[in-house]
Symmetry: C2
Subunit: 310 residues, 2 copies
Amino acid sequence: MSAPLPSWRDGAVRNAILKFVNDVTRDGSPSYVPPEARIAVFDNDGTLWSERPMPFQLIFMIDQLKAAAPQHPEWKRNPAFKALMANDAAALARNETALLQLLEVANSGMTTDQYDQSIRQWLASARHPALDRPYTSLVYQPQLELLDFLRANGFQIWIVSGGTAEFMRVWVTAAYGIAPEQVVGTQEKLKYVWRDGKPALYREPGIEFNDDGAGKPVGIFRAIGRRPILAFGNSDGDREMLEYATGGAGPSLGLLLHHDDAGREFAYDRHAGSASLDKAWDEAAARGWVVVSMKQDWKAVFSAAPARSP
Amino acid sequence: MSAPLPSWRDGAVRNAILKFVNDVTRDGSPSYVPPEARIAVFDNDGTLWSERPMPFQLIFMIDQLKAAAPQHPEWKRNPAFKALMANDAAALARNETALLQLLEVANSGMTTDQYDQSIRQWLASARHPALDRPYTSLVYQPQLELLDFLRANGFQIWIVSGGTAEFMRVWVTAAYGIAPEQVVGTQEKLKYVWRDGKPALYREPGIEFNDDGAGKPVGIFRAIGRRPILAFGNSDGDREMLEYATGGAGPSLGLLLHHDDAGREFAYDRHAGSASLDKAWDEAAARGWVVVSMKQDWKAVFSAAPARSP
């Protein structure tokens, strides 16, 4: 067998991961955890793939909004829509609530099967604006190795994201080897309906459950029913998830990815809006969470060389 | 290998199950379904175990209410509480909303860990009023064999119940071999809190998602993300789940258990309140759902000889 985590640099962080996994899996270890309780939860945006300039699902939703605009001439008078089309960041910030409402409208009013097709079509052609490659090639190679290493050691891996499971399920199996039913996310309103003589689920505007911040432990409990023993996040939205996972009676490991690598990806932490790593970072030392430096601890960032534009 | 489904009588119903599983699993079959899409969903109450005189979780919740009564002297003036203590069915029916509110109060106001302990304690000592045995011995032997048979053929099995996952997760692995995270249920309100210096989930009164009727396809989609190809229920609360599972493009099997066996279990169908099998029964013929007669199609009902009271 080759050494695990080849894209992780030798050092305290890689050793902490190897030691934890060894401690909870070694027969006779005082920290032994049986396989069914080896639950690992990973945030998605900024933890398993990039999230700059904004979470990719938001880019998809905005593209859906722009595509739907011809059917909505009334939007031309909407300040949020005008700000979006003018790329006016200040005006967008002033009209955030109105923008979210427009996004909800543009991303509802169809069946889940129809929406699934839209996601697939978008993923097949959309490219990251700065890194110029398909979004699904922006997954982190060291994290793929960590997922493989955990699976090989009997861990059950879940994604717990502020995005929706619906958006992620389309691609997470190919990208991460994670099954669609192991994804916990924000939940939008759905209604059971008959369409064209077939039963279907219809997307209505509005959020029913927000799987972020203090929502993450709730989402985890509802979907899994067991407290995770490993949690990996990258922002304040993951703080409560890490507290919950590392606040049980047994052994646990909390990990935070620090985006400090402007050369290979992006550098942002305390002042990055909804992607900020600030309070969680402050808590890390007190709770023994491991802060992973993208720049120092990862030999590589992305899973493949950048794809060229056609 | 021994023949599958030994407690199922030879006949059209057993043959329909065997044929469906053979059709979707046989290499080269025109109805072949790959293993990852072999999703089977089972209702719990009345489908995998008994539900008379009322769903057992409701009996548990009432026992919690009675146990909490000494701390709530104000309940003595509550008509629903008085009707409950007097076993007055007519008065209970008149005060159903008030009773549900009392049940919510008595079953909230503690952490999920504390509530989990209450469920475990109750299960260890409570006995069915008429059948005089622990509730967990009221699971159906033919269904255990069906679950085994489906698992052996690569199916992933989920429970989709009007009860809560929290109540079921405690015992479903021992009873059915189903993992806690494969249970979809009604969701109560939860709040992330710190208690005694530890992160916890606190139960608040109220239902956030009702996993019954038209809620079941929504619960299935959110938890699994794929349309099941087999659904097994027993009442009108399962109707939309069966429609959804059998309304896709590919092969599917819908099954309804008919409680027609007063000698070995209970007999009820069209006029059984929330447990009625009425509209779903009417739909069965049109949609090709298989109606399973407990009396005709099952050689045995319960998984073991009745336990005697101490």
